[in-house]
């Protein structure tokens, strides 16, 4: 490996990832396999997301990395430090300032601006949405080719009739552009409607499986559900953040002897909200 290589990965490996990214954008929700050498970083680092970020990043980019909404978690810090070290790009915690946001399991709380061309890179542990209903990878591929999602519907039906709602709390299956059903990565249900018709380009990378998929901006993203059922997201009605007082956001629930405590899951949102409340 050449130590002067910008963004760590060599050019041909980047070309392979870039080819897959362009195909993924042209085929919203379709899983594109790519060839890759192992990244010399530990698993759980989110190598899929990392490979995408390193293949798209430019000197002028401003990078934000979050883990479950938090910029300061060890995982997020390690990834951010690594990327800034091999690229020299500027880093930020500010969602609106970032041109690339690499994330694990959350979409930042702030609404994205329309014309900023921001890119969200998701780290994906299990790219194939059909694994829960069909273990055979060849059959999974055939099912996608035939738009045959009957097995997912059966699962959904069983849940609905037995429990009144789907038991799937994260990785909720979504229909992209009325064609492919895909795994949105383990984001909460709260974030699913926020993927729909979003102004940002959403890219998904699974390192172990070597899979890439994408949702272009302004693309229809619908949770798989029966017409007569409402899609229920996590409910936090009447709850506000103990630190900043914010309401109607996604909360982390902390259980202590004193009872349940709630804090904004998005730490940057919490900081900004706290600053605003203190100022007024």
């Amino acid at each position: 490996m050449n130590s002067t290589t910008f963004a760590f990965i060599d050019e041909d490996a980047k070309k392979e990832i870039r080819r897959s990214l362009l195909k993924a954008v042209a085929l919203p929700g379709y899983i594109v396999p790519f060839a890759s050498r192992e990244m010399p970083v530990a698993r759980g680092w989110g190598t899929g997301g990392l490979q995408i970020t390193l293949s798209i990043i430019l000197e002028r980019d401003v990078l934000k990395v979050i883990d479950q909404g938090c910029d300061a978690s060890v995982n997020a810090v390690n990834i951010r430090d690594f990327i800034t070290e091999v690229t020299g790009v500027k880093e930020t915690v500010n969602t609106s300032e970032a041109s690339i946001i690499q994330t694990r399991h959350r979409i930042p709380e702030h609404e994205f601006a329309k014309d900023e061309k921001q890119i969200l890179v998701f780290q994906v542990p299990t790219p194939e949405v059909l694994t829960t209903v069909e273990p055979d990878t060849a059959k999974q591929k055939q099912m996608h080719a035939n738009s045959d999602y009957a097995k997912l519907w059966v699962l959904l039906y069983e849940d609905t009739s037995q429990y009144g709602d789907s038991r799937i709390s994260n990785r909720y299956p979504v229909l992209i552009n009325d064609h492919y059903v895909m795994d949105p990565s383990p984001i909460p249900k709260y974030d699913i409607p926020r993927m729909d018709n979003s102004p940002v380009l959403q890219l998904f990378g699974a390192g172990r499986e070597k899979r890439i998929y994408a949702i272009p901006p302004y693309t229809s993203v619908k949770p798989l559900k029966f017409d007569d059922r409402e899609f229920k997201v996590e409910s936090f009605s009447g709850i506000s953040c103990e630190r900043c007082g914010a309401q109607n956001v996604f909360f982390d629930e902390v259980r202590r002897e004193t009872g349940n405590h709630y804090f904004c899951s998005d730490t940057e949102y919490c900081d900004q909200h706290l600053e605003k409340s203190n100022a007024s």
Partner: protein, 182 residues
């Protein structure tokens, strides 16, 4: 011919890739390409091509440097992953591979030069990447665009396209875009 170090070309590649990614993600919007050997077509070739993909070209340009740089093989139209053309050609579009239901990514990408992105056919675009609908001009004839619509009628099969102008501007058209001629 200018001399370029690998580092220069890699820098060019990443800038041009990002603009291609933006162009394909936002059909109808126009982005800048930085030329290589005074050609934005060759700049795209340098960025897209490598040993694992192949190409076809029908251009007035010398491709020797690109072949050396990328180790990519020149093949027949119907096999090619990338098709580089001096002008949008209907018979090439017809023959370009469109992928299959199992592997729709085994499809061709057309890169077509034109003089000016603002001269051609008035169209209305809709589909992923477009906020509602977008009225614009595409630098191709009505009959080429009708053929393209035919080619892309059965999603996920189809081809993806880029138009490149003499002034090094690029506009992307993925297979998901519905092109209505006005």
């Amino acid at each position: 011919m200018n001399t370029h170090t690998n580092t220069d070309i890699e820098q060019l590649n990443r800038k041009n890739f990002r603009n291609c990614l933006d162009a394909l993600s936002r059909p109808g919007d126009v982005f800048q390409i930085t030329p290589l050997f005074d050609s934005s077509l060759l700049a795209l070739a340098a960025m897209l091509l490598y040993s694992e993909v192949n190409f076809y070209q029908q251009t007035d340009t010398n491709w020797n440097m690109i072949k050396v740089l990328t180790n990519s093989e020149e093949v027949a139209v119907e096999e090619a992953d990338y098709l580089f053309l001096d002008t949008p050609l209907e018979h090439i579009l017809m023959e370009a591979k469109a992928g299959d239901q199992l592997n729709p990514e085994f499809s061709a990408t057309l890169i077509c030069c034109c003089e000016d992105l603002n001269e051609g056919t008035q169209v209305k675009l809709s589909g992923p990447g477009i906020d509602g609908t977008k009225e614009t001009i595409l630098p191709a004839t009505t009959s080429f665009l009708q053929l393209l619509a035919q080619k892309n009628k059965h999603f996920p099969l189809g081809v993806d396209m880029y138009f490149l102008s003499d002034t090094h501007m690029i506009c992307g058209l993925p297979r998901t875009t519905t092109v209505e001629v006005l």
